[in-house]
Symmetry: C2
Subunit: 440 residues, 2 copies
Amino acid sequence: MSRVRWERGARGARPGRSSGWTCREEGALGGYAVSRATRLRAGRVHFLPSAHSRSFSGVPGLRWRTAMCLSISRRGSTWWRRCDGGAAGGSGPRSGTQPTRIPQNPGQTYISRGSNQRDEGPASAGRMASSVAETKELENHSDCCVKLCNPNVATMKEDVLYHFNLSTATHDFPAMFGDVKFVCVGGSPSRMKAFIRYVASELGLDRPGMDYPNICAGTDRYAMFKVGPVLSVSHGMGIPSIAIMLHELIKLLYHARCSGVTVIRIGTSGGIGLEPGSVVITRQAVDACFKPEFEQVVLGKRVIRSTDLDEQLVQELTQCSADLSEFTTVVGNTMCTLDFYEGQGRLDGALCFYTEKDKQEYLKAAYAAGIRNIEMESSVFAAMCSACGLRAAVVCVTLLDRLKGDQISSPHEVLAEYQQRPQRLVGHFIKKCLSAPDVP
Amino acid sequence: MSRVRWERGARGARPGRSSGWTCREEGALGGYAVSRATRLRAGRVHFLPSAHSRSFSGVPGLRWRTAMCLSISRRGSTWWRRCDGGAAGGSGPRSGTQPTRIPQNPGQTYISRGSNQRDEGPASAGRMASSVAETKELENHSDCCVKLCNPNVATMKEDVLYHFNLSTATHDFPAMFGDVKFVCVGGSPSRMKAFIRYVASELGLDRPGMDYPNICAGTDRYAMFKVGPVLSVSHGMGIPSIAIMLHELIKLLYHARCSGVTVIRIGTSGGIGLEPGSVVITRQAVDACFKPEFEQVVLGKRVIRSTDLDEQLVQELTQCSADLSEFTTVVGNTMCTLDFYEGQGRLDGALCFYTEKDKQEYLKAAYAAGIRNIEMESSVFAAMCSACGLRAAVVCVTLLDRLKGDQISSPHEVLAEYQQRPQRLVGHFIKKCLSAPDVP
């Protein structure tokens, strides 16, 4: 018997929504495999091969197929799906109290993520060898695993990604980016160049004298570097800046027909109640009122979006930190603000109309809400990646403990070492994923 | 008789607030001078010498002194101030219907701007030759005309401007920046370097082979360049990014004891109903709901600030554009959004849940509200400069007409020329100000 459990139902994920879901399937050997899939059409699910997840699997006999979803139910914070195969047992949507249990039959189990109405069309299965029957359906853009929530883009003759200085009319996106599996983003261009050098070294892809040219040459809005399946992109500071980058990055991945992409933000932050230099893996991105929401004004109306991140990815990254055992890493909520000074309760900005006591009360309330660090990009990052079905995580180092001060005054070399920590953690994660024997 | 009229009372300015006020004084020759002043202490006003304003004056006999403010009154949208001098006529706060008329006596008229309670201490008079009697009072930080709305900074032993990679402990701010009178800010580092080269050439301050090193070397968050009294600083994209820069810039000017500083944002934008390449001088910055407000969350609470800009400066810049007569320039409202794609009603982002019709309705409503262009920084720029008493303006070129499309697809050389237009306009403005014979 294999048990299919929906990992991503914990918070906010619902059938029919576009947030990515993962499934843990317990196999005969006692191990498990984690993957994601997308609904090929109503009722039918199709796997998204997830190399980074599979590298953690221990079920050699697992195959990745399509299956019919018969019903979805919920137990506590976990979603369960009953698939076709005749012998599938467990709960339907109305009984909803027992987990689905399905015979271990590779052709009949599995896994999907919800999709909203705009995503209703065919979606990529990731061109897995076991999905040959589906190949023809996967040969156009709409099959791409990176999905846009915008039907207009598919109809455009040319798409100018203005802030990247790239265009579909002048650049061959599939040739340039089709093999991308990991995208790491961070504020500083120089840090993202340092990261690509580090990853190249870690993956054995560097050569003496090798340079990593900025793919976005001709603009200084963003910088982009690539080595093997890893893309490294700077995003500047703040929600608007990273949002512009993400719109164009997601379109880039879409045009390049990428599949199975994981996006990780590696950044800096202010900690709350943590030793400086601690790394925080974000469980949930929250706003300045501690809500797990991202608010945006669209055509003059306020729109609220959830800020879910991939729970399984958090676990995998936590394990990677344990593997390294080089620095303190915690999992906690991350507060995302629109301002670095007043917006984060600092007392040292050009404007400040509150007291130290007010600040301490605010930060302690944040700590009580599970918040362990503060930065300026995670909420829109989580919201956009989730909406477009990208598996995403936020890994930030803390440069100071905000309960003890506001100024970042550690020596340059100390801060530089701190900033390398998320890079080392994520570098190890990528290496681990790619070195797994079952990676296609 | 000279008439003192408060230009800055038009919207939101009130006695006791920190927004900058200007005064138009009609002189015997029929010309007028515009200046600004700050309250030296309760009831006493002191001039802030305003080189850029004085260059437009036509009153050769005017002097700049201190005077006692006896009362303030309002007529319509205009504030009037009754000063000491015995012969001063006009209205007090309760009569309030007639303009103040004061004999043309250079020692008795004049001008102030409001200050909030935090600004109540002595403030700089700009070290005018005519203010010798006040010199001793002006020799400490609190005399600086650039005023912080934060009493904490004056008590700090060291102030680390982290994102500039500058610190008061390691850099001599008065020596490095004390002569700054104009700060021009824009998104792109390379554009701001190009601007400093252009200004140096315009002002005759360039030398063959001269370089303009980045003052913020050691960080790539922002770039800063200086020539003579002009500082050029990049601010990245979006409200959070420019807000961090402004907090640190205003503290920099404060620590450097600068006075009489004008700050101008020169940027790019999307136009509404304008030919691409048109330049918009912002009358008022408005949010995505067309309100002249900047909303911020401080310690979990929403705070609304006004987005006033200097009306007189708008007129002066408009005149400069007329002097140049090189491109179309209009004065209009500027919408400031938190997002480039959905936030501005674009149809070509990674997410889009509305139609062309919805977009057109929104943009046409914006046009009807006097909005002529859309960008992503003006509201917080206006709010922060206004709060800290900095005379400020926004001058942006439009790269496309949003009523006709969303993609910025003009050839690179065309866009490059467009982007030079705000630089040429503001360069001419600075040159005109500095070449005026009465500039100290």
